[in-house]
């Protein structure tokens, strides 16, 4: 079984594709409920998490680290869901939030602007100009957000395994392709792949717990429950973080061992 992430712009039929794929494969489909979970678990108003995921961070927020913390919460909630496998996830940059997990089929759904404008006009009762401006602005915001946080362009086709253009191809065609691709060996959940997913979930959980305490600018890796926390914190903050981590080690049974590494470069695979 697989994890499927579907990235899309507004009104690109991505949600419809995701729901039909999930129905066909008997998978759970997840999107905004991840935000709700993160919101309840970390006591952050949902609206702030929505803004974190949709708007590019402002200069001020880069200093207060608000959005970075919120992303940590979202990522923790998503990876906890993904550990249970058999998941179709749409929106919310799943292909980036679950980076490094081998059995994730990453799909992008695109549609022509004209078709998207028509859909938005109908749904939101807008004029053509209004719908077009809103869509262009929304696309630009999403692009800016991804570029500023991950340094990648979400429109770059090389981030995905499949990009499907809904125009000549219908939603049902897209569903066929995705279901067909997901059935391949490379997307099956092997023991190793499941372990990687569990490691990611644990690393995200540790990072989110530290973010709750305003411990930012850290990276976390986990391998079979051996957790490494990389930090650039000064000695005073480091001390406080270590106290927090001691508590966490007692609270989370999945952590076999936890170490803090200060002053080292963050590994590229770190959460």
């Amino acid at each position: 079984m697989a994890i499927i992430t579907i990235s899309r712009g507004s009104y690109s039929k991505g949600r419809e594709v995701a729901e039909k794929v999930a129905q066909r494969m008997g998978y759970q489909v997840v999107s905004r409920d991840v935000l709700l979970e993160a919101s309840e678990k970390f006591h952050i108003p949902e609206v702030k998490l929505v803004r974190a995921i949709h708007d590019a961070p402002s200069i001020l927020e880069r200093f207060t680290h608000g959005k970075y913390c919120y992303l940590a919460f979202i990522r923790a909630a998503l990876s906890e869901r993904a550990v249970k496998d058999d998941l179709v996830y749409h929106g919310l940059a799943g292909h980036l939030l679950l980076k490094g997990v081998p059995h994730v089929l990453k799909v992008r759904i695109i549609a022509d602007l004209e078709a998207r404008v028509a859909a938005e006009m109908k749904r939101e009762n807008l004029t053509q100009n209004q719908a077009c401006s809103l869509l262009i602005k929304d696309d630009a915001e999403r692009r800016k957000w991804t570029q500023s946080l991950y340094g990648v362009d979400p429109w770059d086709a090389s981030l995905y395994d499949l990009v499907i253009h809904i125009n000549q191809l219908t939603v049902d065609d897209a569903v066929d392709f995705i279901v067909q691709a997901a059935g391949r060996e490379c997307f099956k959940t092997t023991v190793e792949a499941q372990q990687k997913m569990q490691d990611l979930a644990l690393a995200c959980r540790v990072k989110a717990s530290l973010a709750e305490d305003d411990c930012v600018d850290i990276a976390v890796t986990s391998e079979f429950g051996n957790v490494l926390v990389y930090t650039k914190q000064d000695a005073r903050k480091l001390h406080r973080m270590e106290d927090k981590l001691k508590l966490l080690t007692k609270k989370v049974p999945e952590i076999n061992h936890l170490e803090v590494r200060s002053g080292q470069a963050f590994p590229p695979e770190a959460c």
């Binding site: 695109i110 429109w155 990009v163 691709a181």
Partner: protein, 273 residues
Amino acid sequence: MPLIIVSADDFKQGDEISQKVAGTLGYRYLGRDLLHYVATENQVSEEELARALDEAPGLLTRRARRQRLLGLIEAACLNVLLDDNVVCFGLAAHMYVRAVSHALKVRIINEPEQRAEELAKAEGLSVDKARKQVLRQTKEERRWSEEAYNLDQTDASLYDMVISLGTLELDKAVEIISDTVGYRKFQPMTYSRKLMQDKALAANVRRELMGQFPEIRVEANDGTVVVFIQSLKKDQRKKQELVRQIAGGLPGVRHVEVHIIRDLVGQAAQSSR
């Protein structure tokens, strides 16, 4: 049956996939072999034709010459694509076969990191150097298509599907592409066939006129050909007559209209003498 037009960031992979798809479906494969025919028919070199397809014009390469060579390839390719059941790769068809509903357009790509690793291995480079080379290659690809066709060929929205060979295997890509053949929307219709015929006619007319009018633009509709050329006011009539004479004699052309675009640069040069 649909036409299948493949574009790829790795020529060898694109060629292999296209040939396998053609083999699976029993279709004709149209690839770089066409260049031999184009070279012979038009007294140009095959190497120059291949370079026109692979390289953006440099300082020493005239743009007009490159556009002419691409125009020759386009005309020959479109004439073959009038038949159905063809898989086409390596002739830039993804750039000029647009809005034709029975043409399935697919792009095959690789993950940049994977490309860099393979390049490093093949050429004995460091991975860092290979990464920079891959980035340069992608920029060149983009530059080529923007200069030749005013389009970015790396833009996913130009295609019906983009398949990455990062995780999906080559044979899976072949399977996915082959399976689309049965989709109703890709079956040739009267209007889509007509559109292909119009494109082929326009390309043939352009091919005949490009030698004398490098910046020419041609549109065709049901045998009526509209030709846009640049001209100074004083040469207008003579050029219009010449275009009508050449284009009017070509098979499939029933009527020729010639529209003049003012040659402002030439006019300015003339008035400063």
